[in-house]
């Protein structure tokens, strides 16, 4: 499963994005700002998650023209989101030649039982997860990158931290299992034993693992990197702040130098107002995106 050439190319692109910041953008102007600030890729969207949350209703794949407008102005990879299970939207995104597809809980799910079988696609997929079971199922379906779900559009890092700690805690526990217990766990997770074995051997997910959902400041991004995320997605955190250019640059600098607090401190000065945050307990559970 892990050896075929297309899969190698998909995971390969994810490898190239490590140590970078992927920024949500809703038009060409924002895409250019993101690229100039040092974004490693942009996510083309109709609305950022904070506005999706406000607008309510059904959130779908972005308009074709919107994605094309963004593809025209940047040289860095362009990602786009499709609804969970909506393989027809994913086919359109592949036709558009976006560089990465995010099968995302930020949009309204199209299928409550099934995710997309991602192996047949030539374009790599990233999927969100809250725990090791979700990560293993998505990788088994062909995801080339995993990200935490966090709680998108909340400006609150607590859920992304929970998900990172959960995944690496579960991997540490996995390493201690004998093969009988691992077999049982594989059955519970509905994934092949081989995948769990590989994960235990690596002590890490077999594909790159990024953080997403609630990152609003350079220090939020550093926290995720120190909890073993290999790159970060920033959604509403940039273009919902009072000074997107400055915040975007600061987060890029912070991720590149996450092991050097002196540089992160310098980058964190004079950022203006961060995006407003939401207390997770004040968001009704059925409005939380991570449970999708």
């Amino acid at each position: 499963m892990l050896a075929d050439k297309d899969y190698q190319l998909k995971v390969g692109l994810a490898e190239m994005l490590k140590g970078g910041v992927i920024m949500d953008v809703t038009n060409a102007e924002q895409a250019k700002i993101a690229e100039d600030a040092g974004a490693v890729a942009v996510m083309a969207l109709e609305r950022v998650p904070a506005d999706i949350r406000k607008a309510g209703g059904v959130a779908r794949m972005a308009a074709i023209e919107k994605i094309e407008e963004i593809q025209r102005v940047v040289q860095i990879p362009v990602m786009a989101k499709c609804r969970i299970g909506h393989f027809a939207e994913a086919e359109l995104l592949q036709e558009l030649k976006v560089d990465f597809i995010d099968e995302s809980e930020v949009l309204t799910p199209a299928d409550e039982e099934n995710h997309i079988i991602k192996h047949p696609f030539k374009i790599p997929f990233v999927c969100g997860c809250r725990n090791l079971g979700e990560a293993m199922r998505r990788i088994n379906e062909g995801a080339a990158m995993i990200r935490t779900k966090g709680e998108a559009g909340s400006g609150n890092i607590v859920e992304a931290v929970r998900h990172l700690r959960m995944i690496y805690g579960e991997i540490a526990a996995l390493k201690k299992l004998n093969s009988e217990k691992m077999k049982k766990l594989a059955k519970e997770m509905r994934v092949p034993m081989e995948l769990l074995k590989k994960t235990a051997q690596l002590g890490d997910l077999p594909v790159p693992n990024f953080a997403a959902g609630g990152i609003a400041t350079p220090a939020d991004a550093v926290l995720c990197m120190k909890l073993r995320a290999q790159a970060v997605f920033v959604g509403s955190g940039i273009f919902k702040s009072s000074n997107p250019q400055v915040v975007a640059k600061a987060i890029v600098t912070a991720v590149g130098h996450y092991d050097d607090p002196a540089i992160v401190l310098q980058a964190s000065r004079s950022l203006g107002e961060a995006m407003p945050g939401l207390e997770i307990s004040k968001i009704p559970k059925d409005e939380q995106l991570q449970y999708r």
Binding site: K5, Q8, L9, G12, L13, E15, M16, L17, K18, G19, G20, E35, D36, G38, A39, V40, A41, Q75, I76, P77, Q94, K97, D99, F100, K122, I123, P124, V252, T253, G256, H257, D260
Partner: protein, 192 residues
Amino acid sequence: MKARPWVGILAFQGDFAKHQEVFAKLGCLTQLVKSSWQLANIDCLVIPGGESSVIDRFIKSQQIADPIKEFATKKPVWGTCAGMIMLATQVENDPGLTPLGLLDITVDRNGYGRQFDSFVDDGEFTVNGKNQKLEMVFIRAPKVSSIGEGVQVLGKCRKEPVIVQQGKVIATAFHPELTKSAKFQQYFLSLL
């Protein structure tokens, strides 16, 4: 060559950890480089794949361009993919970028297209007049569009030059660090 050469890998952004893995397997010591003082003790430098516009930004903010140029006058430097772009004298399709100008080539960023056009193929790698086959992984790869006089082409794939060398500076448009073969890395270490 020393018994255990010290390989530096520029580590602002990209797949530097993959390079580190391969060189560690070959018995080298590795040093991730984010600051000019870290160039002092290493025997050679690798500029990894990633996004050239991002790596360029960090090279500028850390003011490490001149120290790398100075380093390259004495010791081998290898750039892959985005690293090839950084080593070039001229870059098309990337107006904001300031390449290091250590290798007299012009490259077209994303010259092979988007991710949809990324590919794995066998190419040719010529060392000391001997041709060998090498599996090559191209990911949104840069294309070499022109080559200066002092530059040697050591490898080709689909008729395009993909391994180029000038003195001790060498660049690959593809990613040797993503395949099982370490033939290319061994060649790079032989330049020490």
